[in-house]
């Protein structure tokens, strides 16, 4: 049985987030992605041009997440698998020229990257070129662009996934209409493949169990198997795609793991010089390999 995941849990103050994670664990999820939303990348782009007032700082993924040790205490997981969390950054792209900000290192530190296109132009850009994992379709309003099969196929070839959020419709009944119709249209266009259904919940009560969500997927026009995949195996594929994105054009990844104290001390010094966090995956090249070898010996 594949692990059930919810790849969109809006980040907020730690106490609330923690209660949401606990509810998610209780409902049977094995993994959630904590979503940090940056409203507009264009603001970030202009901030670099000396408009410091508007500057939005993107926090480090570890600041977004809940403390792992705290999460593991009072764990009620009966399946034996530990409950996991990962970080996700999502943004709305209105301006194609600001999209290059997605390639900046502080953004790429996040486990998952999602974009929400707002026009035909940005949808094309997201499907065709952007180096992201998830394309969010804003299902709560009438779509301002047409979902075309050619573009969908492009995105599917690149292993991107389309996201449908259900919580806004639970929060507000009037949004249900558009949610259902847009989701059905999307499912029709991509033939039920490469779709994930996520919550995007703000309060714990808006969260639904994984099988409830799978049943909603059936209502959106997915088959039963596809609907179940939309909360389990497709989500895993997203995570693997994200992994592949960070290790572009390489076959082996080198990861620093915590070593015994004696070696760690030597390692720590090196970390200060390079200034990169310990857990960051290094792209493989010769220099990196050598460096790590030195560190171990």
């Amino acid at each position: 049985m594949a692990a059930y995941m919810d790849l969109n849990m809006v980040s907020e103050e730690p106490a609330n987030l923690f209660s949401k994670l606990k509810i998610a664990e209780k409902l049977g999820y094995d993994m959630v992605a904590i979503n940090h939303v940056v409203e507009d990348m264009a603001v970030l782009a202009s901030a670099s041009k000396k408009e410091k007032k508007k500057k939005i700082v993107i926090p480090h993924p570890n600041e977004v997440k809940v403390d792992d040790a705290k999460l593991r205490t009072n764990s009620i997981n009966v399946s034996g698998r530990p409950f996991k969390q990962c970080s996700r950054l999502s943004t709305i792209i209105t301006d194609p020229s600001a999209a290059h900000r997605l390639h900046s290192p502080e953004v790429q530190l996040y486990d998952l990257i999602a974009v929400q296109p707002t026009s035909e132009k940005t949808f094309l850009l997201a499907c065709k070129t952007l180096n992201v994992d998830i394309i969010t379709i804003d299902v709560t309003q009438k779509l301002s662009y047409q979902i075309k099969r050619t573009l969908i196929n492009l995105a599917m070839d690149r292993g991107l996934f389309f996201e449908i959020q259900y919580s806004p419709a639970i929060r507000d009944n009037s949004l249900r209409k558009y949610t259902i119709s847009n989701a059905q249209q999307l499912v029709l266009m991509c033939k039920g493949k490469n779709v994930i259904v996520t919550s995007g919940c703000k309060r714990p009560i808006e969260l639904r169990g994984p099988l409830d969500v799978a049943n909603l997927g059936v209502m959106f026009g997915l088959t039963e198997a596809q609907a179940k995949a939309a909360v389990s195996t497709n989500c895993r594929a997203v995570l693997q795609h994200a992994e592949a994105r960070r290790l572009t054009k390489s076959t082996i990844g080198v990861e620093r793991i915590s070593l015994p104290i004696t070696v760690d001390a030597a390692n720590g010094k090196q970390n200060d010089v390079s200034g990169e966090p310990k857990q960051k995956r290094a792209k493989i090249d010769d220099s990196c390999l050598l460096k790590d070898k030195e560190a171990v010996t």
Partner: protein
Amino acid sequence: MHWRPMQKHWRVGGHLAVSHDFLGMGMYEKQVSKGHLPYCYLKVRLDFEEDVDPTDIDIIIFKHIVLQAVQSLFGEAASCTPIDVLKYRQTNREAILRVSSRYFTKLWASLTWYSCYSEQSCAFRVLQVSSHLMALAANSRQLSLA
């Protein structure tokens, strides 16, 4: 009705399996599908965001909420199918619902979408689902393996 090579399993529920020696070509299994079982059973719990007095919601109000949920999503036509509350425990608002298996997906979907009763946020938690009532007697996910 269709033929398929004999496998070492027998189906229960709506299937009838009979083995035959088909033209000396080995064992074949004749499967006759009788379709779904007539009913599906759901064990659900109604959770509120804030604490609610348990006496507030009795079985009649509970049934009303379920019907309201179906009616708001699928309208009059779906809400007139028989949905029965077989058992209701008022202390934690847990109930066993019975519905014809044709409308099972619809009922489940409308319970999922339901979010607000008299301006209080609430949610249906579907605990167990089965086409056999007996299966709801125990929940393997709540077994403690101490």
